[in-house]
């Protein structure tokens, strides 16, 4: 049973990676005109560079990517380069490698996303539980309604409002960046403080927008859990309310909450990318925005491939773990 499920999930993951890489390879080649020449000339026109360079640069790129070779050959080369983790060079800030650009942004994005998701999951789950629990105070419905409304709005719009009020009107937090201007990260207290200081508003935007989604999910789960027999038994046994809520209600309603993470991962990552743009936060999302602005095609492509593959892997790993914590899943997912 478990093996069938794992095999199916694994095949889906391979298909996702195959499709993402193939689309990445095929799209620029399907467009009319020479992709590299047009990218380079657009780039030079924007930067005001001399046009004489284009010929030499195009020739160099042609040779590097073997664009004069048959398409199938190019395709296999593309895969080969990918396996060597070679994503090429940045056009706008040559000779920076695309891989290096991604690695530089990764810790920022992971930190921001990880922290924000952890907080919103915890707060949202708890809030959702309290809304559904009939013996909890009605007062929880107020914040519940607020986060529910916020959860329908795109993350970065909330970010814009926070930025305006907490960095422009009241200058409490910095308006952008990941560290105080002109400092570089090192292992000391000032760096940690700087990171927290700059990360507060971006994290708050994601948390405000995401909490509601978890609260809604948890509310629904707990309402149906409370109707089940083991809750009635616990009540009949005369257990304390708090114990029933925590051990019998929340615990069993939490499992599906965890499984929702795999389904919403893509949504969360897309949302966080735009929050980084609003706050000029030095993660992968802001780098993607900069690359789009500079028409730095290889960086755009590299980040897209990287995001697709890492999300496919993350989803697969989560899919592997779920049946271990909730045996009902392997049966349900196959249905």
């Amino acid at each position: 049973m478990y093996f069938d499920y794992v095999l199916r999930r694994f095949l889906v993951m391979l298909l996702v990676i195959f499709l993402a890489v193939t689309i990445n390879f095929a799209l620029p080649r399907m467009m009319p005109g020479d992709p590299i020449e047009s990218q380079l000339s657009q780039l030079l026109a924007q930067g005001g560079g001399s046009v004489g360079d284009v010929g030499a640069m195009v020739a160099a790129y042609r040779e590097k990517f073997g664009l004069d070779q048959p398409v199938l050959h190019q395709y296999f080369n593309y895969w080969g380069a990918l396996f060597r983790l070679d994503l090429g060079f940045s056009l706008a800030s040559y000779p920076e490698r695309v891989g290096a650009a991604i690695l530089a942004g990764l810790p920022w994005t992971l930190g921001l996303l990880g922290f924000a998701t952890l907080v919103s999951f915890t707060v949202g789950t708890l809030l959702g539980g309290l809304i559904a629990w009939p013996k909890a105070s009605r007062l929880w419905r107020g914040p519940g309604a607020v986060v529910l409304l916020l959860s329908s709005v795109p993350y970065f719009l909330i970010g814009m409002v926070l930025l305006y009020f907490f960095a422009v009107v009241w200058r409490i937090f910095p308006a952008g960046g990941g560290l105080p201007y002109g400092t570089s990260p090192s292992f000391d207290w000032a760096t940690v403080k700087g990171i927290l200081w700059h990360g507060t508003l971006p994290a708050a935007s994601i948390i405000l927008a995401e909490t509601g989604a978890w609260a809604v999910g948890m509310r629904g789960m707990l309402v149906s859990t409370l109707g089940e027999d083991h809750i009635a038994l616990a009540e009949a046994k005369g257990l304390k309310d708090k114990r029933i809520f925590r051990r019998y209600g929340m615990r069993s309603a939490m499992l599906p909450q965890l499984t929702k993470l795999a389904l919403t991962l893509g949504h969360i990552v897309s949302g966080a990318i735009l929050v980084e743009v609003i706050f000029s936060y030095p993660g992968i999302g802001f780098r993607l925005y900069q690359a789009i602005q500079a028409k730095d095609y290889f960086v755009v492509q590299g980040i897209v491939v990287f995001l697709s593959i890492s999300l496919a892997l993350a989803t697969f790993i989560l899919d592997l773990i779920y049946p271990l914590i909730d045996p009902r899943i392997s049966a349900r997912r196959r249905g």
């Binding site: 298909l15 993402a20 329908s152 709005v153 719009l157 409002v161 422009v168 893509g266 990552v269």
Partner: protein, 272 residues
């Protein structure tokens, strides 16, 4: 009763927005929404109720002409993906077998691919972006929800008594689908339509904020992009970005309330 209030509020907000989008352009002067029509960077005043943006456009006119375009992308993308999703879902659920397996696998794969990543690639490769192309791109990546919902419902409706009887009476496959199955799926189709429009709008506004939207068209997302591009927030020009943010939020809140309302009507039917 409480749940119907959700539907009422949601539909109310959406109808109001759609009416504004239809009536607004009849009243407002399109010239005021062109670059350089008025003196740029003016605060809201009695002459310009919401001020002017950094490129010399009257913000009221900008919003009035941007709203219909934004709604158009959402509705168009929603309709396309709903159409594709309904057909695939019906076929998948009704035919079954390897056809079902193929459709299910493709939609599983598409759900896992981060939509925004693929859209960034497509949008970055399209030379001239228009509102229509935008809608098609977004639709290509949001048909899966409708497919899944319709497939699951088709599977359950297919086994019900009246469908079995019609089948035994020798009704042909197509007639069976259109007369017996489809009418019973209408509420689910409506619910997935709202979901898809919401998804499509989210994707559209995200792409626009990244600078991949229709550069020459006036949409709410592009207004936010230009405001962000010219650092309107840090320069304190709240009237440039806050109204479009507010209207976009209103659209999403309206869609969500409608979706919650529809969901509860659907579930009530299930309970019965």
């Amino acid at each position: 009763m409480r749940m119907n209030a959700f539907l009422g509020w949601g539909l109310g907000i959406l109808v109001l927005l759609i009416l504004t989008a239809i009536i607004g352009p009849m009243v407002a002067d399109p010239k005021m929404a062109e670059v350089g029509a008025v003196i740029p960077r003016q605060k809201p005043s009695t002459e310009f109720l919401l001020g002017t943006d950094g490129q010399g456009r009257d913000m009221i006119a900008v919003l009035i002409y941007a709203l219909p375009q934004t709604l158009k992308i959402g509705l168009l993308a929603g309709l396309i993906s709903l159409g594709v999703g309904t057909v695939l879902g019906l076929v998948s659920g009704f035919v079954g077998g390897w056809v079902d397996a193929v459709i299910r696998t493709i939609s599983d794969v598409m759900m896992t691919i981060p939509g925004i990543a693929i859209m960034v690639l497509v949008a970055a490769n399209v030379r001239v972006m228009t509102v229509e192309i935008m809608a098609v791109i977004v639709a290509a990546l949001s048909w899966m929800i409708a497919t899944r919902t319709i497939r699951a419902q088709t599977l359950s409706v297919r086994e019900r008594g009246y469908v079995q009887i019609a089948r035994l009476n020798g009704q042909s496959g197509l007639k069976l689908v259109f007369v017996e199955v489809l009418p019973n799926l209408l509420t689910f189709i409506a619910a997935s339509f709202v979901m898809t429009v919401s998804q499509a709008m989210l994707a559209t506004i995200g792409l626009e904020a990244l600078g991949l939207g229709p550069q020459d068209d006036l949409t709410l997302g592009m207004t936010i992009y230009w405001a962000q591009f010219y650092a309107a927030i840090v320069r304190g020009m709240w009237w440039w970005w806050m109204p479009p943010v507010f209207i976009i939020s209103l659209i999403f809140v309206g869609l969500m309330l409608t979706s919650i309302g529809l969901d509860s009507t659907v579930n009530k039917r299930l309970a019965r």
